[in-house]
């Protein structure tokens, strides 16, 4: 048996979307027993994505997690949830306060169930304060966090087609939870932690906060150009929508770069003599470089630059990541089964929809390597959790299943 960093730690995941399940995915990979509690009485739309292979999105969130179905809106369901919490080290949720309170699972009550329980609550714009309880979507969060204000062109904001700050939230969650386990080991104390998606993104604005306070500088949107370095950008290459990024940060790299592109006469122009000149005339510089790159294949540009000691990298697509010898050498992706949702039937009866790849946690620990493996079916661990863990008899489990408590 491989050694696991978080062996013996039990985590309840009572939530959905992206940030929280990714945090517990990490904990599961580190060896914690993560139990995802969900109900089939309310439709989870994420089971239908993506359109080209419905169900495979779940592989991004569920690998290695145990899974039970439980309707906490029923009195017996709530009681069982309480028993489960009592047997756990960590309880995580990102459900709204209104819902939790309505079903008698407010945090004060949950904390009273187990003194040294570690509780993590994922919120959007925050639980209290002027925006307390406001509604939020991950994709819009990049605007609230000012990331889009620093991205793009002077007159249009650059937008990422993703739930930007949810990912930061997930790692802050994981870090806080392992830290809290260590604190509990040391002091015997549990704790309550809130992590808003808003603040998780705001912290990544970074040094610009200090620049504004000290120098009244508001970040400009400069496309791919850098404030201090040039050339610095994504340059068009042969083929459709193919780009290679190049970044030159000092004289040595500039000379190496010029050599790679054959030292054309323009590289000797006084307009590009010093780093400051190159930054000042970056637009013109970029055009000249683009003429050279656009006649070459994207990988060729990258390799030639790297061989000369210049930082370069292609703008990768799924295709490039699939074929990447480097990612293959890390065995970064692995193949596993996914399921096709049918909310009319118990999760155990959902058919295998196919196989596809998902990624391993990008942290390589030498003694306790992160684990990877299949996702469990919805309700797959009902017997283990309700029987073995909570000690319910087979007859009781059968009865509660029939009554819809385990739906």
């Amino acid at each position: 048996m491989a050694k696991k960093a978080l062996e013996g730690v039990r985590v309840i995941e009572f939530g959905l979307y992206l940030a929280l399940p990714l945090a517990t995915r990490m904990l599961a990979a580190l060896g914690a027993e993560v139990i995802k509690v969900e109900t089939l009485t309310s439709l989870d739309m994420s089971w239908y994505g993506p359109m080209y292979a419905p169900g495979c999105l779940q592989l991004e969130y569920r690998p290695l997690k145990r899974n039970v179905t439980l309707d906490v809106r029923q009195p017996r369901g709530k009681e069982i949830m309480e028993e489960l919490i009592k047997k756990s080290d960590i309880y995580t949720t990102n459900l709204g306060e209104g819902f939790l309170t309505k079903f008698g699972l407010d945090f004060k009550h949950v904390q009273s169930l187990k003194k040294d329980l570690i509780i993590l609550w994922g919120t959007g714009l925050g639980s209290v304060g002027p925006y307390g309880g406001f509604k939020a979507y991950g994709r819009l969060m990049q605007h609230a966090c000012a990331i889009s204000s620093m991205t793009g062109t002077p007159d249009s904001l650059g937008v990422a087609n993703i739930s930007y700050s949810d990912y930061h939230t997930s790692m802050f969650n994981a870090l806080a939870l392992i830290g809290a386990l260590e604190r509990r080991r040391r002091t015997g104390k549990g704790c309550f932690i809130e992590c808003p998606i808003y603040e998780s993104g705001v912290v990544t604005v970074g040094p610009s906060f200090l620049d504004y306070q000290a120098n009244k500088v508001v970040p400009e949107r400069r496309e791919n150009r850098h404030r201090f370095y040039a050339p610095h950008g994504a340059y068009p290459c042969k083929g459709t929508d193919r780009w290679c990024t190049i970044a030159v940060t000092n004289e040595e790299e500039w000379n190496a770069f010029c050599k790679v592109i054959g030292n054309p006469a323009w590289t000797k122009s006084p307009k590009f003599a010093t780093a400051a000149d190159r930054v000042k005339n970056a637009k013109e510089l970029d055009k000249l470089i683009g003429k050279w790159t656009s006649q070459r294949a994207v990988y060729e540009v990258m390799r030639r630059m790297q061989r000369a000691g210049v930082s370069a990298g292609i703008v990768a697509k799924g295709e490039d990541m699939d074929k990447s010898p480097h990612l293959k050498s890390h065995e970064f992706y692995y193949e596993t089964e996914f399921y096709s949702a049918d909310f009319e039937k118990p999760g155990m009866e959902w058919p295998v929809a196919g196989k596809t790849v998902t990624w391993k946690e990008p942290v390589y620990l030498s003694d306790t390597p992160c684990m990877f493996g299949p996702m469990h079916k919805v309700g797959q661990d009902n017997n283990y959790v309700y029987g073995k863990l909570l000690g319910l008899s087979k007859a009781e489990i059968k009865k509660l299943t029939e009554e819809g408590v385990f739906k």
Binding site: G152, S163, M321
Partner: protein
């Protein structure tokens, strides 16, 4: 203002020797802000990120880099030339007492100095060592050089930013410096927890910034999509490709973002638009419905929404929209965040005093808990802990220190 409570550290005072540059500085900051004792080990001339802009009052000076200041809160600093034999001996003595070494050197650099993990582990079997590099320690790309933009590109992230018919964009604010360090901090903590709870032994933690960033857009399932459809994810711009209205809209004083998914939300928004513009068009049946229903009339819907958003300020639309239970979010910039009422009400901004730069406000972090304190101090001056570490701990005299300094060791 937040209450100033004397807290025991959330994390134990792990000693972390931080040799990382911009690629890994955030890892040490995260551990330090949560209570670890992080000491930057800098070459005698200073860590190279001290010369990264922007600078305080735009003066290029090793104590005035705002980049360095941001990523090095709650840390101390000693100077040490680990390339020379004397410095290496001192480094090994430091390693004996350390819990963690964090580094982001080019792959192979520390092995050449005989300071790689297999060797340091012999000196201190309890040591956890964490490396944060663009492509990890192994594999064909491990020797590739990378700046922020190259990692954003190679992870596929750039492919998703910007307009479909234009160049892919890098996110502002050098965003690749965060995910790798976040994973590294999690991996380091897991290794420390396992060490202290179970094994009594350290281990090695290897993080690839590229893979960290790939996982930061996994909701688009890029590789499954390629395998199943032979198509690739791409940029969709400021407007959502499936849902209307959803995206960025111009308002009186800038931009506002909103997303309408359910039929009920559209009814609420169209009523509100009608109240503001008096235009009956928006109430028409053909615009009603959920998710995909407005796609055929997308252009007209966006015109109706823009006619409305342009009449109000961003803040008016945000606060009133949320009151009406709509997902409306502000489009902030740096000044608006520094003055944001929500962040202020939660004590998010913490004022730290730096001997050269003075008082500035820094983010507390993304976690709120009675158990977690705020960053304890501003970034260190170069070598500010030399005396404490070298004299008080390692037993060098002040004269020894002068000799080491003259020899360029510290």
């Amino acid at each position: 203002m937040p209450e100033k409570k004397k807290l025991e550290g959330f994390l134990p005072k792990y000693r972390v020797l931080d040799l990382a540059d911009e690629k890994g500085a955030y890892c040490g900051k995260l551990l330090g802000d949560l209570g670890a004792e992080v000491i930057k080990v800098e070459p005698p001339c200073g860590d190279k990120t001290r010369l990264r802009g922007p600078f305080f009052k735009n003066e290029v000076h090793p104590e005035k880099s705002l980049f360095f200041l941001y990523f090095n809160t709650s840390k101390g600093s000693i100077t040490l030339d680990i390339e020379g034999p004397d410095g290496q001996e001192i480094f090994k003595r430091l390693v004996k007492k350390a819990d963690v070494v964090v580094e982001s050197f080019p792959v192979g650099y520390l092995a050449k100095l005989e300071l790689d993990y297999p060797r340091l582990k012999k000196i201190n079997p309890k040591l956890v060592m964490t490396s944060i590099t663009p492509y990890g320690q192994k594999g064909p790309l491990s020797s590739y050089k990378a700046q922020d933009i190259n990692i954003m590109a190679m992870s596929g992230y750039m492919q998703l930013v910007g307009e479909p018919d234009q160049a892919p964009l890098v996110l502002g604010g050098e965003q690749s410096f965060y995910p790798g360090s976040q994973y590294a901090a999690v991996g380091t903590m897991a290794a420390l927890y396992y060490r202290d709870a179970v094994s009594k032994k350290g281990q090695y933690v290897d993080v690839s910034m590229q893979e960290a960033l790939i996982s930061y857009w996994q909701e688009q399932t890029p590789v499954p999509m390629w395998q199943k459809t032979k198509e690739n994810n791409t940029r969709v711009g400021a407007m959502d490709a499936m849902v209307t209205p959803c995206g960025l809209y111009p308002c009186k004083d800038g931009w506002i973002s909103l997303c309408i998914v359910t039929p009920q939300e559209w009814d609420t928004l169209s009523q509100w638009i009608h109240e503001v513009t008096g235009d009956d068009e928006v109430l028409k049946q053909e615009y009603k419905g959920g998710l995909l229903d407005r796609m055929p009339v997308r252009d007209m819907v966006n015109v109706l929404v823009i006619n409305f958003t342009e009449k109000l300020t961003g803040r008016e639309i945000f606060l009133e929209g949320q009151k009406r239970k709509l997902v409306v979010m502000p489009v902030n910039d740096v000044p608006s965040l520094v003055n944001d009422s929500q962040l202020n009400s939660r004590g998010f901004w913490v004022e730290l005093n730096h001997p050269v730069v003075g008082k500035l406000k820094y983010p507390k972090g993304a976690l709120y808990s009675d158990a977690i304190g705020a960053p304890t101090k501003a970034a260190p001056l170069l070598g500010e802990d030399n005396e404490r570490i070298y004299c008080k701990e390692l037993g060098y005299s002040k004269e020894d220190l002068a000799v080491l300094r003259a020899a360029g060791v510290i």
